[in-house]
């Protein structure tokens, strides 16, 4: 019916040496590879992926993008990340299905509203469209919401961020892989990095399940496994806790939710996909684990929370549930660093449950870092040493307060 398929990227033999080796065929690894080739003509690059590209958080996230964070360090990166989706769509010539439907974060107390006020003004200071709205305006945006005083936690107001929305996550993976491969990057799936060799405090090679690769540069973009890779292969501990985070979708419904909605008090966020399903999530296991298993405990919680916020969803069925890993740092901000503590060792990790939205733009800056050896200004606050210098960022969780740190 569809004729012959052509592969989006070719399979190449694993070479004995590369200019740069990227651990992890996720969003961050593929984006960095693409921009190394495209902006710096560094095409002798290998992306090493132990399963298949998009196997990690890249293919499991709930696709939400926004730029209404709280801190001065994070906002510029997320703003550029959000503005970047239409540009990347053109550049990759690939339909990333960006739908800028806007995000509404609900507040269920005076204190929560006060916290949102700070977040709104911080975003506005950076020229980002973000506004406080009252319960009636929330209802106007999402008629399905119950704004009465009947729920356990009635709605006090919200933060509305019109430019945010959703992007098709798999499309980003495929588009970046196709773009990178076309420029000459090698993508090696079913290949696991098993060790990293260091001589005189310099990276010299990487061991994989398919052989050794000599290289002066390696990027740790192993997502949920980045901290384990760092400790196991280099003995470097990171301020990361790995938690399983769950998500699920209902059966497809007619259009009823045309914004991303989230609620801290109910520990839930939801959006309606272009296909009509309500995609929803947010539960994180409160203890570290690598299981990626879902739980009956949470499906029940999710059904309760969703129907409290939007009673019309009663009787709707969940079709699928799944989970992935979130590499959480204590300050809800990622770690991006390079040539520290080893020359040629770069890291782009600690992206928790929020690393999809700015993956492409981060890849652009990590590529600049790796090609020039100089850290771009926008990435400087995210260095690993901030924890030693007590310069934690104070970014706030999007909806959940879960983490082993509180």
């Amino acid at each position: 019916m569809f004729g012959k398929f052509k592969r989006l990227w070719a399979k190449q033999p694993l070479k004995k040496s590369y200019d740069a080796v990227i651990i992890g065929g996720g969003l961050h690894g593929l984006a960095t590879a693409f921009f190394l080739a495209r902006n710096y003509a560094m095409t002798d690059v290998a992306v090493i992926e132990k399963r298949y590209i998009g196997y990690g958080g890249a293919g499991r996230n709930t696709a939400i993008v926004r730029a209404n964070q709280r801190t001065q360090e994070n906002l510029p990166l997320y703003k550029e990340g959000l503005d970047f989706w239409p540009i990347l769509t053109k550049e990759l010539d690939f339909n990333l299905m960006f739908y800028n439907c806007g995000n509404l974060n609900l507040a269920h107390s005076e204190a929560a509203l006060k916290a949102l006020r700070l977040q709104v003004t911080s975003a506005q200071f950076h020229g980002i469209n973000s506004q406080l709205v009252d319960p009636k305006e929330c209802k106007a945006l999402i008629p399905a919401l119950d704004i009465s005083d009947r729920p356990t936690y009635p709605i006090f107001g919200g933060m509305y961020h019109p430019p945010g929305g959703i992007v098709r996550h798999d499309a980003v993976v495929w588009g970046l892989a196709k773009g990178a491969a076309k420029l000459g990057v090698h993508i090696h799936q079913q290949t696991e990095v098993t060790g990293i060799e260091v001589e005189n405090q310099k990276i010299v090679s990487v061991d994989t399940s398919n052989g050794k690769i000599s290289t002066p540069r390696v990027l740790n973009a192993a997502g949920g496994y980045s901290a384990a890779v760092s400790y196991h292969m280099l003995g470097i501990r990171l301020p990361i806790s790995v938690l399983t985070i769950q998500a699920m979708v209902t059966h497809p419904l007619k259009p009823l939710l045309n914004h991303v909605v989230s609620s801290g008090a109910y520990h839930v966020y939801a959006n309606q996909t272009l296909k009509g399903e309500i995609a929803t999530g947010s539960h994180m296991d409160p203890w570290p684990n690598y299981t990626t298993q879902t739980s009956a405990y949470y499906i029940k919680h999710q059904a309760e929370a969703l129907t409290k916020l939007m009673p019309c969803l009663k009787g709707v069925k969940f079709m699928r549930s799944w989970a992935g890993l979130a590499d959480m740092t204590p300050d809800m901000a990622p770690i991006m660093d390079g040539n520290y503590p080893l020359e040629g060792y770069y890291m782009d990790c600690g992206w928790g449950y929020f690393g999809f939205k700015s993956s492409a733009v981060t890849g652009k800056y990590m590529a600049q870092f790796m090609a020039t050896g100089e850290c771009p200004d926008i990435l400087k606050p995210f260095e690993l040493r901030r924890f030693e210098h007590h310069r934690l960022m104070g970014e706030t969780p999007a909806v959940v307060e879960y983490s082993p740190n509180n």
Binding site: Y225, A227, A228, Y231, H232, R237, L238, P239, I240, S241, V242, T244, D285, P286, W287, P288, N289, Y290, T291, Q293, T294, S295, Y297, P330, F387, E388, H389, H390, P404
Partner: protein, 91 residues
């Protein structure tokens, strides 16, 4: 994910009764030896082992005891001390 934890006082209980207390780490740095690096290491840095690790728990919705167990982070199963008799799962 389901998890059971064996409290030394109350026995095997549902994991949601407990609060995770972090990886078993080096001793808390002494004040006279105090450096920001040592403190950062003690407070923030993790091994994040994908496998068996020693870790602290508090039986918050029970007797309140603090204790350490071994757990396989890839299966969420409590295991016995691997230094004693391999990583055999507890009965």
């Amino acid at each position: 994910m389901s998890l059971t934890i064996t409290c030394p006082i109350c026995g095997k209980r549902n994991g949601y009764e407990f609060r995770y207390g972090g990886e078993d780490k080096e001793k808390r740095p002494e004040e006279d030896m105090f450096t920001s690096r040592a403190w950062c290491s003690y407070v923030h840095m993790n091994k994040s082992v994908a496998g068996t690790q020693k870790e602290w728990w508090c039986h918050k919705d029970g007797c309140g005891a603090w204790f350490a167990i071994y757990r396989d982070t890839t299966t969420n199963l409590e295991v016995s001390d691997p230094n004693e008799d391999g990583s055999k799962a507890k009965a």
